[in-house]
Symmetry: C2
Subunit: 361 residues, 2 copies
């Protein structure tokens, strides 16, 4: 157990879920399903029985430090890494790896986004434990969790497995990573049985991912090598505040996973959704009459089908004549738009910014 670490990434902005997810309080900090726990807290709860709490690290943007401290009081200050700038996932993962390796040269890391939904938690834990066992025997492997697809989703990345190279009944060598496909291609992927969804959940030894950075993204590796001796010390923050912003802004998939020859995928059926959009939220939510989804609000609904009604606390929504809309009310913002336009929400947020500044972001 003592070599198991978890790095929970919780610095994202979640703009596709605006106005519920705002830059001032992104979706991972929201109690999305009214269960009393935020997505971040659910991420913590999910792993706290298989990874020592003292080995759990949250990495986030420094503006969210108060939210993380409030929501995860179990973490000591040293377990919260604060990024001074947004640099996508590659610099984030690299820092976490250097940090964890300094604490424990034999550390194995689970890297987990905090804004996803995982409904089958026991199965998830089984896959994680199986992954740690695999890493103990395959010290250089980079392992990702791949989700068995249940539909030709065009919003996800796909991983093609290499059927000739099965390690066991769930873990396989990866053949290719594929970015979001069009619908025709997505159908081919799903029908082939050779593709899994890329969950963005990774496992590796800290040493292995650092080596991979040296091989495929030396820019980042060299920069962090420059501060090798400060990780895990009280000089780490100052080093990061000086160096982090100079890192390239790229994703771990693009920087490492798509380039490395040593990548494996474990297929997992864990009730996963990236909750990347209102549409994904709609799919995962229990339906009221006429396929409406009510989030947190009191409603009087007539002649409405297939909508999301989302509000906060005591808000009453009275609606009539809406089909397949998002109605999301968050204090000083009301969004009403067709569910089919969810991809345009980012554009609306940009219009809001252009017209009214940062007030509503």
């Amino acid at each position: 157990m003592e070599n198991r670490y978890c790095v929970i990434m919780c610095g994202g902005v979640g703009s596709r879920f605006w106005p519920f997810s705002k830059a001032s309080a992104p979706k991972q900090f929201i109690d999305f399903f009214g269960t009393g726990r935020s997505l971040l807290q659910m991420s913590f709860d999910r792993i706290a029985s298989i990874i020592p709490v003292s080995n759990i690290i949250a990495i986030t943007n420094e503006r969210y430090a108060p939210l993380v401290r409030e929501q995860l009081p179990e973490l000591a200050d040293g377990q919260i890494l604060l990024e001074p700038d947004r640099r996508n996932t590659a610099p984030c993962v690299a820092w976490a790896a250097y940090h964890v390796r300094a604490l424990n040269p034999d550390a194995m890391m689970l890297v987990a986004p905090s804004d996803h939904l995982i409904l089958k938690e026991e199965e998830f834990r089984k896959r994680v434990v199986h992954g740690f066992d695999f890493l103990a025997a395959h010290k250089d492997a980079l392992l990702t969790l791949g989700i068995c697809p249940n539909r030709p989703e065009t919003g996800y990345g796909y991983i093609q497995i290499d059927k000739e190279n099965m390690v066991d009944d769930t873990i396989t060598k990866v053949k290719t990573f594929t970015e979001k496909p069009n619908i025709e291609l997505a159908k081919v992927f799903v029908d082939s049985g050779e593709f899994l969804w890329n969950s963005g959940i990774f496992m590796w030894r800290a040493e292995a991912i650092i080596n991979a950075f040296h091989d495929h993204c030396p820019d980042i590796a060299m920069r962090f090598d420059g501060g090798k001796e400060v990780f895990g010390t009280d000089k780490e923050t100052q080093f990061i505040n000086t160096e982090f912003s100079a890192c390239p802004n790229i994703s771990i998939d693009y920087a490492i996973m798509e380039k490395s020859a040593n990548v494996f995928v474990q297929s997992a059926d864990i009730g996963w959704s990236d909750l990347g959009s209102w549409g994904a939220y709609y799919e995962k939510s229990p339906k009221a009459e006429h396929r409406n989804v009510m989030h947190n609000c009191r409603t009087v609904i007539n002649n409405c089908r297939g909508n999301i009604f989302a509000a906060k606390k005591e808000k009453l929504i009275v609606a009539s004549g809406l089909d397949n809309f998002i109605v999301a009310d968050n204090d000083d913002i009301l969004l009403i738009c067709p569910l089919s336009e969810e991809q345009k929400i980012k554009q609306y947020v940009n219009e809001v910014k252009a017209n009214f500044g940062d007030k509503y972001l």
Copy 2:
């Protein structure tokens, strides 16, 4: 001037404008057009130059006393009559008449609802002054203002004029009162040139309307006769608190106007709207791009036509894909429904009441 009185009725609930008009703050108290003055205040402003301020009386439900005092500080406490109960307009008018007659036996009264819009104020004042002149010569007459119709509106009552009995070029004997017609009948009415809209604005001598109550609604007249000597004294409130609730719940139209033989109408072109509904409000409001009406709110609008977007203060509404809807957000209530369903709002309010009690009314 000293015989001219005005009774501003401001006790209505305005439920058709929910959620902007709520029982706790009905529409007459709202600054509907963002001009800085509520409809009640506009009603006061409109007449203050032709009727002495000390002769202006507001009659309302006792729960709205604080709102009236706040909005019309020009009125002394004795100029605000507080109904202990809702009893429609007949008991309201009767009380006001007994009260005013006690103050001045020669009093002539303008009875004005406070929740209407009158755009041509100068023309309105001309009609009122002309009405007072008429009453001075026709001491028993009951005079109503009739609005020249510009469309076959089915939401209003109509007044048929008696063309054989013209008093002058604007005042005519009334032939019949007609309740809200269906659309076919409304078209016939408008085409005939013999019908005016019933504005609910009345003028008469206090003595004349009290006599009419004796003739056509003795139940109410007898009850108020029983307190003849208390009106205008400090015992009036106690008398009203005992007797008012026993009055029948009926309108002045039904109790008196439709029955009296001595009713006249003055036709008036005063830019009038009863603002009885969101539709009426839409018609009267300036239109933004794509015929949308924005009330008080910040908006980012795409692909929306012919809607009302109404909110309070700093609320931002981002909307897409709505045509001809009412979107009205008032603190803890959001209403979204087609403008064509505005007649159903009362029903929605009833559903709200059934589900959530009085909290949102």
